[in-house]
Symmetry: C2
Subunit: 323 residues, 2 copies
Amino acid sequence: MRIGIYGYGNLGRGVEKALAKNPDAELVGVFTRRNPETVKTVTGAPVYAAERATEFEGQIDVMILCGGSATDLPEMTPQMVRHFNVVDSFDTHARIPEHFQKVDEEALRTAHTALISGGWDPGLFSLARLYMNIALPDGRDYTFWGRGVSQGHSDAIRRIPGVRDARQYTVPIAEAVERVRAGEMPELSTREKHLRECYVVAEEGADRDEIEKTIKEMPNYFADYDTTVTFITEEELKRNHSALPHGGQVIRSGKTSEANGHVMEFSLKLDSNPEFTGSVLLACARAVAKNYARENYGCMTLFDVAPADLSPLSSEELRAHML
Amino acid sequence: MRIGIYGYGNLGRGVEKALAKNPDAELVGVFTRRNPETVKTVTGAPVYAAERATEFEGQIDVMILCGGSATDLPEMTPQMVRHFNVVDSFDTHARIPEHFQKVDEEALRTAHTALISGGWDPGLFSLARLYMNIALPDGRDYTFWGRGVSQGHSDAIRRIPGVRDARQYTVPIAEAVERVRAGEMPELSTREKHLRECYVVAEEGADRDEIEKTIKEMPNYFADYDTTVTFITEEELKRNHSALPHGGQVIRSGKTSEANGHVMEFSLKLDSNPEFTGSVLLACARAVAKNYARENYGCMTLFDVAPADLSPLSSEELRAHML
């Protein structure tokens, strides 16, 4: 399958690296809104201006959209699906129904296939929640994230006056995880589930107390959490905090009868969030290509995809070796 | 959906209990090869002789086949699918392709839908392996089972002369699990992955040394493992070993680039293997009923089922609440 990468940040590079591990896929090109001459790809793949993408209609089987969920994808996915089969990693949970509907309409109108919200959350974690719910309908599930870098929270800190750079780690609270794992089904507040650790590089002469206060009191992002703020130098940030690890777990416990309880858990420990997400998106592109070949048009999510469609192996091989 | 349970041992009772947790399903009846008058169901569901099952054609949407994989299901599933949509938990991994083909032929010929090898291994563990492989194509996966009762190994001990009863626990070796979890990708022999613990009730006057030797040297079942044999009384067996716990984990580690590795894990801790398996089979029945309604006939496995089809929720509800 012939792949295009639309948007070339961390995630775009992750998809590009994933291509080396998936011999059934080849990269046609990277499309960027920056000046293509200033963009150097990891593997030397050709770079084109985003406006030229439509010239590649018919030469790309699936375009993987690597924009952000806040402002890029809500416009980009419904627009690009008019020309290509597409995959995105739209992760604003509350706006998924609306995004799905827009993409579905355009995909059906133009006879294309789209998969939105691929990746790990939404994505593999969503699948874990669904499979756990069907196996244990009488139960309760919990999602913990981290220890990992939250891009959104890091950005929120960077917007504070006097902050030069910042990195925010979301940290699950071990005691809460253990209680859930033990099948206790506790009632947990936001504060009891995760901590937020902030590493901040301040501008020279900035009021550090004021920055710390602004972070800790920021509504939605930090106010509901126990938050630590540590000021570090730019060198320390580069040396110790330039990786983008992440992960977490979905845990569900429940009962099948008065006597018998069960605990299910799916966990990820990722050295690089964008590389792992990129790898999942490439598998999603495979499912999109297969469904398009069956004239199964419209928008789907991983909930609608038969797992076999994500694999390069045939159904016979899967039954023989993986079942 | 109207459900029939065909075969009424531990698994059949597990399915029956699962019905209480799935309000979209109702139980039409239990079918047994024993004298129906001697069978008392957990919930008071009616019991019929197995030969009478075909009288219920048209009154049962999905028949859940709760026979054993060694001798029952290879005959039972291809035969029953001529009359009903069916689900089974066929778990002889090596014979799955052959079983699939037989069931598929009969299902297509008679316009029915079947799902084979439902449950957790094969089943949810197979799904975990597949999703992990598509996310991390360059990696290695490991499956550990237990601590849990293996019915097959317990039966093998019971067939030894001088043994009145026995219970065998498969126990994963913690050190091996930890090495895999750490992303080491070790080469592990059979002996390095699992222990086998046997609790045996001997007949009076039986030669215990001979029994222990026979167990430990039994090819396939025990010879390749470190096996412990503990003789206990019938009372102890009843008191301490009458539950059927099980579980285990699938772990895959791999790399997306030279620099970045990842570890994925899916684990189950089950108080009752048959109740949990029964609950998964009931969800499989839901997917079978949906696919039958779409005239999607033939045999499938969980690899072929869109996850949404396993859920009683609509696609809209799933996207809004679980993605």
